[in-house]
């Protein structure tokens, strides 16, 4: 069963190597590798389902000398979302990159990106995570620039440099940790911190955590460090934008969550968590406002990513204040659900936006009416994704926001609820501003799908966010070892 942990890395990596060596067959080998990866992640998730946690010491060298891989419920949930979203993106990309010259650049970088994402969700070693982060940053920036226009190059060069600043800051934290604790392993580090031998160790650990979280927040585009995201995500080719918004920033967020709540839990304070929550609140308000003002569909989607990441950080102060127990584990499940729902919704939205852009030749929202009316499936995708972004039932984000609301009230931190309401209202406004374009007096088109291969994956992703995650949450609750607390 633990073989699937290693294969999560090896399958996409082997795919990347093969498509590098055999560029003529890139699309076929690439899609096959992604399918194989999805299959393997299904096995891995099944393993976590049965055993709660899978562990592996690579090369049979136990930490601290070796590198450990751990898959728990959170890892499995993120991996499963990544596998499904990347499968949909890959099917779509096969259609999008029809020009073989662009396809041969896309596939190897895309599979390397997938390798690094899987590695990030599995590695329980601070330095191995650093190498994965760099693999992620380099492949993401190179993919984002595939469009080739000057704006895309500039935006992605900035993204690359910001990412490097972030990972260097993270690495300084890692070096401090090694100097003080002589281990890079999550579990060993957590045990040492929980013992809390010397005050100086706590200080060193807190400084290192601060550096690592700052570096990762830059990569996760936490307000006000989000400035690089909208141009980079707005200018990338549609399948890449989908991956960047749904998966790449989510990986950095996942690491912050993991470090904050598990490894460094004894060192975190309510004040620091409040700061994260405050920045999250800023992101919700600012990102939603900018999404409302955006002229272009892809920029709307990118600013909405800034806002949705903000919601994820609202969970920190509330989680911090709760004692271990039912409510807390439910809230932890809620933040996971929020991240998953946004991953599915935003990738669906970006894929649909890319198809609209291809059909209309532009993505200026004010002029999209006619195009949207000719594309019923894509319009449905936009509506479903929008439902999840607002957080209306039956979307996964509705359940997550409901639990967040409950947690905030139980904790006496009612002010976060105001942010939640304001963000939701703004989201209603920016989603409806887009959707009103789709309802005119044009004749009904004869076909539901114009191009099934381009529109189908986006529709499935959006349906996943709004239909499946909101209704069938029980498997996720089981995976995360909680009751759910809704019924």
């Amino acid at each position: 069963m633990t073989d699937s942990l290693v294969l999560a890395l090896v399958v996409p990596l082997a795919g990347a190597l093969l498509v590098t060596a055999l560029p003529a067959h890139a699309a076929r080998i690439g899609l096959f590798s992604v399918m194989l990866n999805t299959l393997n992640i299904a096995l891995l998730t099944l393993g976590v389902w049965q055993h709660d946690e899978l562990q592996l010491a690579l090369g049979d060298w136990a930490p601290p000398l070796g590198i450990g891989f751990v898959a728990d419920g959170l890892s499995a949930a993120m991996l499963a979302m990544t596998a499904l979203v990347s499968l949909a993106i890959s099917v779509y990309a096969g259609d999008y990159f029809r020009d073989p010259a662009r396809a041969r650049h896309f596939w190897p970088l895309w599979l390397l990106l997938l390798t690094s994402l899987n590695g990030l969700f599995l590695a329980a070693d601070l330095f191995n995570l650093y190498v994965n982060l760099e693999l992620l940053g380099l492949s993401a920036a190179a993919l984002g620039a595939l469009g080739g226009q000057r704006t895309a190059l500039e935006a992605n060069l900035r993204y690359l440099l910001v990412g490097l600043l972030g990972s260097m800051t993270y690495l300084l934290g890692v070096a401090l940790i090694y100097s003080g604790f002589s281990t890079l392993d999550f579990a060993q580090l957590a045990a040492q911190l929980a013992r809390g031998d010397a005050a100086a160790s706590g200080l060193l650990g807190a400084t290192a955590l601060g550096l690592m979280v700052m570096g990762l927040a830059l990569k996760a585009a936490l307000f006000p460090l989000h400035f690089w995201l909208p141009p980079a995500h707005g200018s990338a080719p549609a399948p890449v934008s989908a991956a960047l918004s749904a998966l790449v920033v989510k990986a950095a967020f996942y690491l912050i969550l993991r470090l904050w709540l598990e490894v460094f839990a004894p060192l975190t304070t309510q004040g620091a968590a409040n700061l994260l929550g405050l920045l999250g609140a800023g992101a919700v308000l600012w990102g939603s406002w900018q999404a409302l003002r955006a002229e272009r569909l892809k920029l709307l989607a990118a600013y909405s990513t800034v806002a949705q990441l903000g919601y994820l950080f609202l969970f920190f102060p509330i989680l911090q204040g709760l004692p271990a127990g039912e409510t807390r584990s439910n809230l932890f499940a809620a933040v996971t659900l929020m991240a998953l729902a946004h991953g599915f919704a935003k990738s669906g939205l970006f894929l649909a936006a890319g198809f609209v852009q291809q059909q209309a030749g532009h993505d200026r929202i004010a002029e999209l009416g006619t195009t949207l009316q000719q594309l019923p499936a894509t319009t449905l995708t936009l509506a479903l994704a929008g439902t999840a972004l607002i957080g209306l039932p039956p979307s996964g984000s509705f359940v997550a926001k409901w639990l967040l609301l409950g947690g905030a009230m139980a904790n006496g931190q009612w002010w976060w609820v105001l942010v939640l309401l304001a963000g939701t209202l703004l989201a209603v406004a920016y989603v409806f501003r887009l959707m009103t374009r789709a309802f005119g007096l044009e004749p009904t088109p004869r076909h539901f799908f114009t191009q099934a291969r381009a529109e189908g994956p986006a529709l499935l992703l959006a349906a996943m966010a709004t239909g499946v995650l909101g209704v069938a949450t029980a498997p996720l609750w089981h995976l995360l070892g909680t009751s759910g607390g809704l019924g």
Partner: protein
């Protein structure tokens, strides 16, 4: 003062100087040099960490530095290539 503490101290100064140069200079080449100086700062700290009096040096930080150097070279090369593509010519 111990040599290793001096080394770590120099590492922190290099790191901070790197951030300063990265944030306040506009030219890509200066930004990239700045990032590499930041990296050198971290590597200084790791090398200082490897020293323990009377014992052979700890090989783990040394290996981490080697890995870090390769990653830094890769990132720098890619960023330079972006710069060249942005400039649009390439007769340098």
């Amino acid at each position: 003062m111990d040599a290793e503490l001096l080394y770590a101290s120099a590492g922190f100064i290099l790191f901070v100087l790197g951030i300063w140069s990265l944030l306040l200079h506009r030219l890509l080449i200066r930004k990239l040099i700045a990032l590499n100086i930041m990296g050198s700062g971290v590597f200084h700290l790791l090398i200082a960490t490897a020293e323990h009096h009377g014992e052979p040096a700890d090989p783990v930080p040394h290996a981490l530095v080697l890995t870090g150097i390769v990653v830094a070279v890769s990132a720098t090369a890619l960023a330079l290539s972006f710069g060249r593509a942005l400039r649009g010519d390439g007769d340098d």
